[in-house]
């Protein structure tokens, strides 16, 4: 597809759960500096795919490589060490803890000087301010920064998960339906944010059911169906309807990947 070495690449991934096969020989390529949208039906296996790519799930078969180097992630920490930061569809927040704690979970900042190095004192104030700043940038309005995450509205919670990934991704940022619970203004801000991340040179994987969003921001669109990639198309060359056709299986790509073929059922 391209001469570039993919930042993140997978071949033949398979993940089975008893009778259910969630990933069924899926391939994946993320090129440097691009926004790659991943689209597909509910239950197509998108989240399972990116869980495999972010170490949350260990695939039964298949290979993953980062910048051409084969890797094996045995947990999310491994992927994070490779600079891959993920917003999971289920958000992965600690419900009873406050907002700043959640934003900085696993990456807490310590105070400078001996207080930090010897007494390992956290910079609570600094983290709180920084968290407020990031959320402000995303237009997420929070009434009290001391609220436990479980008391926040659905959109506020999602904002926190997005803010966290955006702030810390150093090589790849993966977002699984980051705007699903967000309002119009907040969604626009997240799309802005994705653009800014790309402008920093980081590639972004965006899973979304929102076709206008996908067509607004994606450089390439990976279409997932029944556990595997059925094609990658350019949003500039295809219409929304064509992509929806691919998703539902009404259309398919011809062998050479260049043409759309109608499927008769």
């Amino acid at each position: 597809m391209s001469e570039q070495v993919p930042v993140l690449r997978a071949r033949g991934l398979v993940k089975r759960y008893g009778k259910v096969t969630a990933i069924d020989g899926a391939d994946f390529d993320l090129l440097p500096g691009e926004v790659l949208a991943v689209v597909g039906d509910n239950g197509a296996g998108k989240s399972s795919l990116i869980k495999a790519l972010s170490g949350a799930v260990v695939p039964d078969e298949g290979e993953i490589s980062v910048n051409g180097e084969p890797v094996r992630f045995s947990g999310p920490l491994d992927a994070r060490r490779h600079g891959i930061e993920t917003v999971y569809q289920d958000l992965a927040l600690a419900p009873a803890q406050d907002i700043a704690t959640n934003v900085f979970l696993g990456r807490e900042r310590r105070r400078s000087g001996p207080l930090g190095t010897v007494f390992r004192l956290l910079d609570a104030k600094g983290m709180r301010e920084e968290a407020a700043r990031i959320l402000g940038e995303l237009d997420i309005k929070i009434k009290s920064m001391a609220q436990a995450v479980e008391t926040l509205s659905g959109g506020q919670r999602q904002g926190i998960a997005v803010a966290r990934a955006a702030a810390f991704g150093s090589r790849v940022v993966i977002m699984d339906e980051p705007t699903a619970a967000l309002g119009v203004a907040e969604s626009a801000k997240v799309l802005d944010l994705i653009r800014r991340i790309r402008d920093r040179g980081l590639p972004v994987v965006l899973i979304s059911h929102n076709m206008p969003h996908v067509f607004e921001i994606a450089d390439r669109v990976h279409v997932h169906r029944l556990g595997k990639r059925v094609g990658v198309v350019s949003p500039r060359e295809r219409t929304m309807n064509e992509v929806v056709g691919l998703i539902t299986g009404a259309l398919r790509l011809s062998e050479d990947g260049g043409e759309l073929v109608e499927v008769y059922r």
Binding site: A94, A96, R107, A124, A146
Partner: protein, 320 residues
Amino acid sequence: MRAKTSEFILRTPAVGPAIALVAAVLVFSLTTNTFLNSDNLSLIVQQSLVVGTLALGQTLVILTGGIDLANAATAVLGTLLMAKLVVGGVSGTVALITGIAAAVAIGALIGGIVTGASLPPFIVTLGMLTIVTAVSRIYAEGRSYPVTDDVLGLLGVRQYLFGHIEVTVGMGLALLMFGGAWYALTKTAWGKHVYAVGNDPESARLSGINARRTVLSVYVVAGLVYGIAAWQALGRVPNADPNAFQMGNLDSITAVVLGGTSLFGGRGSVIGTLVGALIVAVLRSGLTQAGIDSLYQDVATGVLVIVAVAVDRFSRRKQR
């Protein structure tokens, strides 16, 4: 104003239990004339030291969503090791360190099994309770061992503050430990991880926390705390007895729950546990002062423990 108060109660989880504690102290002060004096209050604190220390370690474990049934047994083995080593001619300091190290090792073993094989802590520590208790009994050869060593007895050394308030070295150490645990849990990254892991293990893992290492570290630290509980026990009763503290595990869990910590993990505080441990000792002392027979004391204690938690819950209910 009202909002402020309730906010305070909500965010300071130990306030509810503290209300129960103060209420109990008040009631006994008014109904008996031997309860409220510095001597008796000091005694009550001394009586809560061992269970309080056990409960401190227990709190850490429970915060991760676990439970430790072997904590008292571990401490008892610690006391036996310390005492028998001294009898065998080893210096008190070395004996102390060995005893504590053994407790840490048991903690590490439990933590290793819990995290390595993902087994439920209840069963692992229950098995460990059986094993450690049996080992203690085998090791003790049916005897108990009086301790005369100064280092081992250090925590029992008494002193008077302001002329009439009796304090022991053990009290000071307990204060330090609770303070330290409070600091570690609320002011360091480790503490945040402990809460996060207990709150929602899968989310914590996905957030990139090394959940296993965190949980393992908690069991190791708890082991250390139980080792120190062994030292506290020798300070209070200079005699290592394989039969001591058989109810220590339940007693410590009681203190933790009375202190407002959730058995489901992720919510609670060590300060609450301190208060919880005191509540139990206050009830027992107060009921004895009131001249109530043991069996009727049991009935009263049962009722009062339930009431104490109810007070706590109602003081927090306001927010719902």
